[in-house]
């Protein structure tokens, strides 16, 4: 602290008293300690994470090859093409179900519900749904769809359970993103004689899109990485599915779960390859989203 003159116009300055100075030094020490602690925490998280990523990428690049990407586990050179296809089918179907439901539900909550008890109840249920362990949802869907409705293991049951897992994220982020749109913009549109639908369609969604897309990406990332509920609903197969019902299928996380502790080294390689591909897909999704958002947010 820079010393101040004692001859202040308002009498003796309190700034030079020992207690003020020692207090200031104590606060400086706390400041330094805080900086050290937060930096240490960041290092403690980033270093193992970096190590893991590096290891998976290193092993992934080591084992990646065209036959492994095109074959299936029982080909002469075992591959995981059916896992790529299965993950794509399941995630796409689940997205087709959950994205419209989540977005329309979020629009309802933000613009039409008027904050009543009903809306509060829906929000609570959605939050509970997001907190239910996915294996429980998998078992429930197994009982309901695979057995009770007789769908059997297959893309349909798998996609439904994934969409149930994805829904709360899209639903809540859409609601929050729409609520963040400035009230003035909504009022401005209404004052020009726009209906609510026009206002939402032409202005609100445009404004809220970055937030909504974030929710969708988050949920797609979660769907990509689910394993347990799929074991209950899609089971696993070494072939591509032949229909929506009664047609087990493979998926990338299944490769990791089933192959990583196999005694055969070529199976373990497939598990690493599946891990690498999943990391790559999530990375690409994020890059695409960020680039797209940046282009979009330029008016």
């Amino acid at each position: 602290m820079t010393a101040r003159s004692d001859k202040s116009s308002v009498g003796v300055s309190p700034w030079n008293s020992p207690s003020v100075i020692s207090n200031h030094k104590r606060r400086q020490r706390i400041d330094i300690i805080l900086k050290v602690v937060v930096t240490a925490c960041v290092i403690a998280v980033v270093v193992p994470l970096g190590d893991l990523l590096f290891m998976f990428c290193y092993r992934g690049i080591e084992v990646i090859s065209i036959p492994r990407l095109l074959g299936n586990p029982i080909s002469s050179i075992p591959g995981l093409s059916n896992g790529i296809v299965g993950t794509a089918i399941l995630t796409t179907l689940a997205a087709c179900i959950s994205i419209p439901l989540g977005i329309f539900g979020g629009i309802y909550m933000a613009e039409f519900s008027k904050g009543g008890k009903f809306a509060e109840g829906i929000r609570f249920c959605s939050d509970v749904l997001a907190g239910v362990p996915s294996i429980v949802l998998g078992y429930v869907c197994f009982l309901a769809f695979v057995l009770f409705f007789g769908w059997g293991y297959g893309p349909a049951a798998g996609a439904v359970v994934l969409s149930i897992i994805m829904f709360p994220y899209i639903f809540r982020t859409t609601e929050i993103a729409i609520k963040k749109v400035p009230e003035g913009i909504k009022e401005g549109a209404i004052a020009l004689g726009s209906t609510k639908a026009t206002m939402i369609n032409r202005l609100v969604l445009r404004f809220a899109l970055p937030g909504i897309l974030t929710g969708i990406l988050l949920s797609v990332g979660i769907a990509l990485s689910e394993t347990a509920p799929l074991l209950y609903t899609a089971n696993f197969a070494n072939y591509n599915p032949t229909g929506f019902f009664h047609s087990q299928l493979g998926y990338l996380t299944g490769f990791i779960w089933l192959f990583y502790q196999s005694p055969l080294p070529q199976d373990v390689d497939l598990a690493y390859l599946a891990t690498f591909l999943l990391i790559l897909i999530v990375l690409c999704l994020n890059i695409v989203a960020r680039v797209g958002l940046r282009r979009f947010s330029k008016v």
């Binding site: 209404i190 004052a191 020009l192 004689g193 032409r202 008016v299």
Partner: protein
Amino acid sequence: MMKEESGSREMKETTPVLMHGTQEPVDALMKLVDFSAFYGHLEVLKNINLSIERNKITVFMGPSGCGKSTLVRTLNRMNDEVSGFRTTGKVLLDGEDIYGPGVDPVLLKTRVGMVFQKPNPFPISIYDNVAFGPRIHHLTKRKDELDSIVRESLQKAALWDEVKDRLGKSAWGLSGGQQQRLCIARALAVKPEMILMDEPASALDPGSTSKVEELMVELKENYTVVLVTHNMQQAARVGTSVAFLYKGDLVEFGPASDVFENPESPLTEKYIKGNL
């Protein structure tokens, strides 16, 4: 007409409002008859009776919380969405009650436009902001007609010369005063009869404020303007008629010069002298 007459007779009997020159016939575009408004059980506007003259600037003034913003927002039904909001009495636009059955609040807003306290341009280009109204109402399908609506609206809002070279740029890059004139242009583009302005200059610097005031005076040639302000100087500069509201009551209403020079109510006098 019967209803209007009985409304005005009742007004003279029941309300204490001090009206200057009520005997003179006025060319009223809008007329409020025994109009009250409530938020839940709270009565925020109490039995208002007044006429808004065509091609004039009618000013609502009063201290914060007097109900002037609520009043102006009821004139184009902007408060419909507020939960617990309800009204009694009539707001007659060209003789038709805008709260009556069969009135579409969406179409009403194309006849009675609104400019808000805080400039609220949409996060799209300047051109698209002005074209927003004409586009959603399908006023024209031809690009050249839309271009001319946009140009005329911007010219009327005294903004054309400043933005004609950057119509495709974002409206959010404009200054606060320009944004507010853009909002006026946007309101003009749907060809309203009446424009409500809710403290349109309170967020602007003095230079932008005087531009917006000049603009209001020009606009009254072709439009009926309702201005809400807590700025008495502004009310005196641009107002034709002035209504003074206090705690939900219409205390005094009359030509601006009469209200400012010979206020009949002691409340108005106190407010004008800054003692309220």
